[in-house]
Amino acid sequence: MTGTLETIIRGLGNGSVYALLALGFVIIYKATRVISFAQPALMLAGAVAVSYLAPVTGFYLGALLAALLIAAVALGIERVAIRPMVGRPVFVVAIITLGIDVVVRVVVNSLIGRDVRQVGDPWGFDLVALGPLVVQQRWLAMMAAAAALVTLLFAFFRHSKYGLAMRAAAYDQETALAQGVSVSAVFAVSWALAGFLAAVAGMFVGTGQGIEQTTWIVALKALPAIIVGGLDSLGGAVAGGLVIGVVESLFQSYQGAYLPWLGQNFAIVSPYVVMLVVLLVRPYGLFGTREVERV
């Protein structure tokens, strides 16, 4: 029983990282109707930035600076490559982000080099006892950070002027424009927020095991999360991320014993199986809005 609970806590820890990434995807999607395939590169860039800044400034300040830096990078990408494409089919813009991902990742990979880079986090693989449970500190740190960021974000969207503008633009761009909302500023802020979240997520992905060139694959697990939650639902992104994290963790612990025929490392692809199952039942995800077409 304690084993299962520990597995679930690990899943919730990883799941909160997926939730942060998924939130980035959903924020961009809600503003621009585009899925940004550049998120994996931004995540990796964030982790690399932390790994270079942490020895100089200390971990926490380094993480904050790195997240701000990546937010600025995302802002630049939006201005240079995405803004000229306003009004073009979303598929085309999505493929542009794919191209950007490839380019950014080459640059970041050359900064990583061949070996694993440590991000210099204070947690490592250290354990902590929670009553009868023994779990790694980093899972708890991930959960705490994600909870704090999600609360802040939701408060921002709910109560601030800019959050209201973003919700208005997501709901109906033309009407929002007519009410004086600067939709281009909304696009920019969305990308910056997504870059910030991706960088924080990247830093957490790098805790303990460090980062290497193949780490970007982790960010793609946020895609099943947003599909499970529904592409246009912020709450769904968080729920989807947690579900994906827990399912993956359960498969990691128990699939070898109970379902060995699925092969080694099935846990890595289990998010995609969850995604397919959910889509067969609910094509718009658990919390997504059903698309209504008028003829």
């Binding site: 490559a81 598929f91 085309v92 493929i95 542009i96 191209g99 490392n265 692809v269 397919l276 718009y284």
Partner: protein, 388 residues
């Protein structure tokens, strides 16, 4: 085309048919539907297409063997790109899962032609006219199985699901060691034998590379003509209607589900054939090669070449395939770029960056791709010297 007019009473003889009414010197003046729908509707197109095919044939005698091998691979990739263009370009269903179907084709062919009783599955049927259609059909079957998801989903949901397919496929192929040999080990690819003649060994028709080059060229022409024919038929028009506005298409009586399934099936057939052929060149398949990058490469070929054009898909495949040998030549010209992978910047990084940049730049500045560039050049010279 004839079917649309056969039934009605208005199928009057007043509508001229055939090519007899072509007006000399006015290639764009069409006097019949048949002319309008023709595969190559102007004399210039017929001549240039024939000239290009002849040139490609002649290249097999002129170029060196390594160059021929690069071109042969480009032709195979072009077949795959044409396939992706059918589903993504013509029918508008975004698929990031092309690598999955390529893998199914590659392994079907490899298993059919592999030696029986070896480490990996094999049935010893090396005749190409058996394993090539079989590979295509196996991939098409997989495409049809996936299609029900596609009919329920639209746009980027579909893109993400097909992306998931690539990851699942990669996992299955890595684990299924009887079929694939496993990660890092791999297995021998399909053996191309045509009526008892092994084309992957030096033989009567020239060296190994010359024979394979000619094989790929012939197959590319066959697949390209088939795709052009599909695109100008009733099916092709249905695809275009679905791409442009699926609800409007449904309203005018295009059965969405049937045509989406068909688009996935045909596209996967092309992918399967491309997969079967691609690895005959190196003679070796490794399950790690069917990753997201391969899908992205196919997308890049279609986008850089020109969406919803067969010639564009071929141009894109040639362009991206030739990019690799060109960047390999860079260290000699630009000393800053190193040929060594441990240095920065090296050719592999330059190549990957070029990939990404080309996709971005083409989409921003010339969304019609290489095909669009060609159209611009053509239009400039059409009205020369008054082109302004």
């Amino acid at each position: 085309m004839s079917g649309t007019r056969a039934g009605g009473p208005s199928a009057a003889p007043a509508i001229p048919t055939g090519r007899s009414r072509r007006v000399r010197g006015r290639p764009l003046l069409h006097t019949s539907y048949a002319q309008d729908m023709a595969l190559l509707d102007t004399r210039a197109k017929r001549v240039s297409a024939a000239a290009l095919v002849l040139l490609a044939l002649a290249l097999s005698a002129v170029l060196t063997d390594p160059a021929l091998e690069v071109l042969a691979a480009a032709y195979v990739l072009a077949i795959g790109a044409i396939g992706l263009n059918i589903v993504t370009g013509y029918a508008g269903q975004v698929s990031l899962g092309h690598a999955f179907f390529v893998a199914i084709g590659a392994y079907t062919a490899a298993a059919l032609s592999g030696p029986p009783g070896g480490d990996t599955l094999g049935y010893g049927i090396t005749e190409i006219w058996v394993w090539l259609p079989a590979a295509g059909l196996a991939a098409a079957a997989a495409g049809v199985l996936v299609a029900p998801l596609a009919t329920r989903l639209r746009g980027l949901y579909l893109a993400i699901v097909t992306l998931g397919l690539v990851f699942l496929g990669e996992h299955v192929f890595k684990e299924w060691q009887e079929l694939t040999g496993g990660v890092g080990v791999g297995r021998e690819a399909a053996v191309p034998t045509l009526l008892g003649v092994r084309l992957d060994q030096d033989g009567a028709f020239g060296t190994r590379e010359q024979q394979l080059y000619l094989l790929m060229l012939v197959l590319l022409v066959v697949f390209a003509v088939a795709a052009r024919n599909l695109a100008r038929s009733r099916v092709g028009r249905a695809f275009a209607a679905i791409r442009d506005r699926d609800i409007a298409a449904a309203v005018i009586g295009v059965p969405l589900t049937r045509y989406k399934v068909l688009a996935f099936g045909v596209s996967s057939f092309y992918a399967g054939c491309a997969g079967a052929l691609l690895f005959t060149l190196s003679g070796y398949v490794e399950p790690g090669s069917f990753n997201l990058l391969l899908s992205v490469q196919f997308i890049a070929m279609v986008l850089i070449g020109g969406v919803a054009t067969v010639s564009g898909a071929i141009a894109g495949a040639l362009f991206l395939s030739l990019l690799q040998p060109l960047t390999r030549a860079l260290p000699a010209l630009v000393p800053v770029i190193s040929g060594d992978t441990t240095q920065t910047p090296n050719v592999f990084q330059v190549e990957t960056v070029l990939y990404g940049l080309l996709i971005v730049l083409f989409l921003i500045f010339e969304p019609r791709g290489l095909f669009g560039l060609w159209i611009r050049v053509r239009n400039y010279w059409k009205s020369w010297p008054f082109s302004y």
